[in-house]
Subunit: 357 residues, 2 copies
């Protein structure tokens, strides 16, 4: 099978490297910027790749929504399979891209878009084929977890933790997507759509970690608690709710003990019970590993069992997500997260959520 790789950053390069050891898959073209065309397989022309009838599968390893979204649409329209690591573009065009893949009888796989090498999507689909999944939640952003961990364990200030994350390459020069919750939002939308087998609302409550202070953490630690940035999605019957928010958890929970830039995701099936997956949620090698596993599913003809049809009509009902809401210095018991977090934004005070016991 001939493939084309769009983008030759850390992920694209690592995918190319890993494919070197895989029989039956060869990289025909790599899309690269005009000034960086150092190899004969590199081209700056996306059309050359997207319209080449020899190429059966396109790897999207570009960052950001555009032009990834347009390239994926074109590839699917031309009957090519698409494997993507780009959560922003996958989330943005979730419905349209899936419909296009279905119309053209090709696969659209994106394990690497959520949780790097951790096989979260594989397991949600496997378990979801048999179970009714009623909850997905987790620590889905390594950068913000690294910062919270350093604030909690090394006593760093928010600013020092951010500089430390930038120094290690975990955070971008502009860290907004990581600290504001936007990255987590993309991921929880993708994961809950797959878990609940329906297209979900994208305009959801989103609170980041910008307002979390070392003092708040010290106070929580004294109560045997910790705070983590989490994506949460719950379903009851055909109603569901989702949110991105700082969550206060027991210091004895697995979540509280997820260190550094690691991720954890939980889901709850009616037969299997609670399952959690933990690992490196980012980085070139783990992410490339997930991309190549997706390519192998297509190459070996077993991608069909990793398809969802989003057949359920689900109703967005934010009132399903309720619990103890911390709005500034006040604690609202059994309040609706969407309302309490909106109030915190209006009043410009910090917000955190705690599940009802």
């Amino acid at each position: 099978m001939n493939i084309g790789i769009l983008g030759y950053g850390t992920v694209g390069r690592n995918v190319h490297k890993l494919l070197g050891a895989v029989d039956g898959v060869s990289v025909k073209y790599v899309l690269e910027q005009r000034g960086k065309l150092t190899e004969s397989f590199m081209t700056p022309d996306p059309e050359l790749i997207l319209s080449d009838p020899d190429i059966e599968l396109i790897v999207d390893a570009l960052p950001g929504i555009h032009p990834s979204y347009e390239y994926m649409k074109e590839a699917l329209s031309h009957g090519k399979h698409v494997v993507s690591s780009n959560k922003a573009a996958i989330c943005f065009g979730f419905t349209e891209l899936h419909e296009l893949a279905k119309e053209n009888h090709v696969s659209l796989l994106y394990e690497a878009s959520c949780g790097g090498g951790i096989p979260i999507i594989e397991e949600i689909l496997r378990i979801g084929a048999l179970d009714d999944i009623s909850r997905v939640s987790g620590i889905l952003n390594g950068t913000s977890n690294y910062m919270l961990w350093q604030m909690d364990k090394a006593g760093m200030s928010y600013e020092d933790a951010l500089r430390d994350a930038q120094r290690l390459g975990y955070a971008e020069a502009d860290p907004t997507a990581d600290v504001s919750g936007f990255d987590v939002k993309n991921k929880i939308i993708i994961l809950s759509s797959l878990a609940f087998d329906g297209y979900v609302e994208k305009d959801i409550p989103m609170i980041g970690i910008e307002a979390i202070t070392k003092e708040m953490m010290d106070g929580l630690r004294a109560q045997q608690k910790a705070v983590k940035l989490m994506g949460i999605a719950v379903k009851e019957g055909d109603r569901y709710a989702l949110a991105v928010t700082p969550v206060i958890v027991s210091s004895l929970s697995l979540e509280a003990n997820v260190p550094l830039n690691f991720n954890i995701v939980s889901f709850e099936g009616n037969y299997v019970g609670e399952v959690k997956l933990y690992g490196q949620g980012a980085g070139g090698d783990p992410t490339a590993d997930a991309v190549v596993r997706d390519i192998l599913k297509v190459a070996r003809g077993d991608a069909a069992c990793y398809e969802r049809h989003f057949t359920k009509t689900l109703a967005y009902d934010p009132s399903l997500l309720r619990g103890r809401c911390h709005v500034g210095d006040r604690v609202l018991e059994d309040a609706v997260l969407a309302e309490a977090s909106a109030q915190a934004i209006r009043e410009q005070v910090p917000f955190a959520f705690e599940f009802n016991a």
Copy 2:
């Protein structure tokens, strides 16, 4: 596809129930004891099931090595696929059963044998198809973890914790397999064979939790540590070692915070890094869920990607597993686990292992 179920305890009954919602698979016979034949599909005659040419797949949901092992051999010889939840029989006949499946071009799947509904084997095979896995370890027995948890958190004595586990149905009247480490031994042998892609030694160091006292736990807690019964397997090049032993872990580790009768397993791939899976390691519904997922792999024709060929010739080298060994009151730094644990058995003193920092 017609299937036959051997055994109608919690697992067999739950498999039957779950299959009710699955198209294309029907249960033709269930093997049941003579006095319990309440339904027309039940028979006490294994030959009726194992030699029926209509039956393409046999579910082994019996306990213990015999006659499960013999039934599985016969089913495979007759060209039937086998799905088993029976770790004792799978571990006992690991090589022979796999060779038979290969000769007869049928599948032998046993996700439910290790970790109930947690998709441990699936993920080891998926990740192992691309990565070199150098380590598998984990809390693989819910009963012993429940007892240690109650001793640590509720201050119970070993005897009270055992009675409590028996009252809840977690421990058998004879709890030997759980507390002695034998159950974990079966599982770590199965998991490491799959992870390392070779048949492994079965005569390995095995220490259970019988000698662990509340006092030992109190001392560890004061040092921010905890003790957990774990299976461990490591590989370096073509050499490997395995063991079952109480392991002393940091109270900040995920392992230390695995509550009640839950399980966790970690593995380390050269690209994906460290991945951990957590969930209910036993129970009728989770285990049946895993059995049915295996049946679906066969029914949908994608079982081939869940096969290992055990092509690697591996050398058992116990000296690979070394660390801080607690032998009674003494601490041996950087000692070989196999030697130190044998010494503890000879001297009839407690043993625990701690990884080198």
